[in-house]
């Protein structure tokens, strides 16, 4: 088999979805941990950390490129797989029901493509709101750096924005609740002890990420936004 054939098979496509999905899941967890600094009433630690990252220069560009590319791959293959999977049942049932038991069929599994598309739109808007959003500068320890903390706090002082985030981050949690363990299964990583553990960890990550990313905007809103 030529290596490239992998990308055209059903298994290969799911491999790519799994790998890129896990990359993003990892990024999201790290991103949340970083953003916990937003809960600090002192803006400096957050802004300094952001500045440090930006100052990495080429490294950060490469990392961003990898993230963007993996996201594009993830979306491309997700759309393709969904399209092919719909084609695989051209005439649908009058009625379908889950059998229950071990089945994971539910809101998360059936909405992956929709939560995924919404999350993609969200990511674009998220970048526009923050990375390319209102730009403030201030001086810390003799260095002029961006006050991203202020941008975020301003944004989340609007209850509408916070509501939007609560919705989107719930969807992210939903996406991850199936996505994380599923990615391991797609990579062929399965075992009698590993898989039950992975499903628990997957759910845990989903809940942690959703609560974390809902908690930050809520906290900002309830504590009065940018002081």
């Amino acid at each position: 088999m030529r290596f490239s054939q992998i990308f055209s098979s059903t298994i290969g496509k799911k491999l790519i979805l799994g790998i890129t999905g896990l990359m993003w899941a990892t990024f999201i967890v790290i991103h949340l941990l970083e953003n916990l600094l937003l809960l600090n009433p002192d803006p400096d630690p957050f802004n300094k950390w952001a500045h440090t990252l930006i100052s990495l220069g080429p490294i950060i560009y490469v990392a961003e490129l990898v993230l963007v590319l993996s996201l594009l791959f993830h979306i491309f293959y997700a759309v393709r797989v969904t399209w092919e999977n719909n084609r695989a049942r051209s005439i649908s049932y009058v009625k379908t029901a889950g059998k229950g038991g071990v089945s994971k069929r539910g809101l998360a599994t059936s909405s992956m493509i929709y939560t995924g598309i919404l999350l993609f739109i969200f990511i674009v808007l998220h970048l526009l709101h923050f990375k390319y959003g209102s730009y403030y500068e201030y001086e810390v320890g003799g260095v002029v750096i961006r006050d991203l903390y202020r941008t975020v706090h301003e944004y989340f002082s609007d209850p509408l924005n916070v509501t939007y985030y609560i919705v989107m981050m719930s969807l992210l949690g939903l996406h991850l609740s199936h996505g994380v363990w599923s990615a391991f299964q797609s990579l062929g990583l399965n075992g009698p002890r590993f898989t039950p553990l992975m499903t628990k960890i997957g759910t845990g990550i989903a809940v942690f990420v959703a609560i974390g990313f809902i908690g930050i905007p809520l906290f900002v809103l309830l504590t009065g936004g940018a002081a």
């Binding site: 059903t10 298994i11 999977n85 695989a88 649908s92 229950g100 071990v102 089945s103 994971k104």
Partner: protein
């Protein structure tokens, strides 16, 4: 104890592969709860024949849950609601008097309807012929005990080999994926030392055929395992993927 119930059946009737199908309602009366689901249909067909109507066509053969011939989607679930059961082993005692029961054929692009509830599952045969075997010629086998097989491997291989090829996994999968069927066969053979020799080409060829038949991709929903009459675990699918990745590096 035996009692009788009345049911309203809504059955998918389709006269030919390219004909338009529709749901037709039938009332069945005094169904003994000792009957199997297929025996209940036998009785319905007797009545239809006596009225000069064409009986409802459905596939069945051994009627003891091992040949894999039967398969009806009952109220949205392949083989019905009972755990680890083929429809020939589903008994009427699990239905309530007055219940409406919906009967549909397996639905998948790779399983076209032939008539009524009968579908064409020859795609499964083509997948097996693409590599679901160990190439050993009759008469060329060495003594059976020359190669010892660890008991846990043999047991796991047997779990996988229990597949009856009914296609319920495909019917239940929201993606109409055949991954559990293919994964089970690949797992059985790759767990045994005799099957390791061809493991790489086997997984490549079987997966290629599976895809060519236009089955969907597995998205790890596990509905297949829930409906599988032999309760084959989706660890089969993970093993198939591992074998596939291994093969890619060969």
């Amino acid at each position: 104890m035996e009692k009788t119930i009345n049911l309203k059946l809504k059955i998918w009737r389709q006269s030919a592969p390219d004909a338009k199908g529709e749901l037709v309602s039938y009332d069945v009366k005094d169904v003994s709860t000792e009957m199997s689901f297929l025996e209940m249909l036998d009785v319905l067909n007797e009545d239809l024949t006596k009225k000069g109507e064409e009986p409802v066509e459905f596939d069945s053969d051994c009627r003891e849950g091992i040949c894999g011939t039967c398969g009806i989607v009952i109220n949205g679930i392949p083989h019905g609601q009972e755990k680890a059961t083929t429809v020939c082993q589903l008994h009427m005692r699990h239905f309530k008097d007055g219940e409406t029961v919906l009967l549909e054929p397996w639905r998948a692009k790779a399983f076209p309807v032939i008539k009524d509830l009968v579908v064409d599952r020859s795609a499964f045969d083509r997948i097996i012929s693409a590599g679901g075997y160990i190439s050993t010629k009759t008469g060329s086998a060495p003594d059976a005990n020359i190669i010892a097989v660890p008991k846990p491997d043999a047991e796991l291989a047997m779990d996988m080999a229990a597949c009856i090829g009914c296609g319920a996994c495909v019917a239940a999968c929201p993606n109409a994926s055949a991954s559990l069927f293919v994964g089970a066969k690949i797992s059985q053979l790759s767990l045994l030392p005799q099957g390791r020799i061809e493991a790489a080409t086997r997984v490549q060829n079987m997966v290629a055929q599976m895809d060519a038949e236009l089955f969907g991709a597995c998205t790890n929903i596990q509905e297949c395992e829930a409906v599988c009459p032999k309760e084959i675990s989706i660890s089969a699918i993970a093993r198939m993927r591992r074998e596939y990745v291994k093969a890619a590096f060969k």
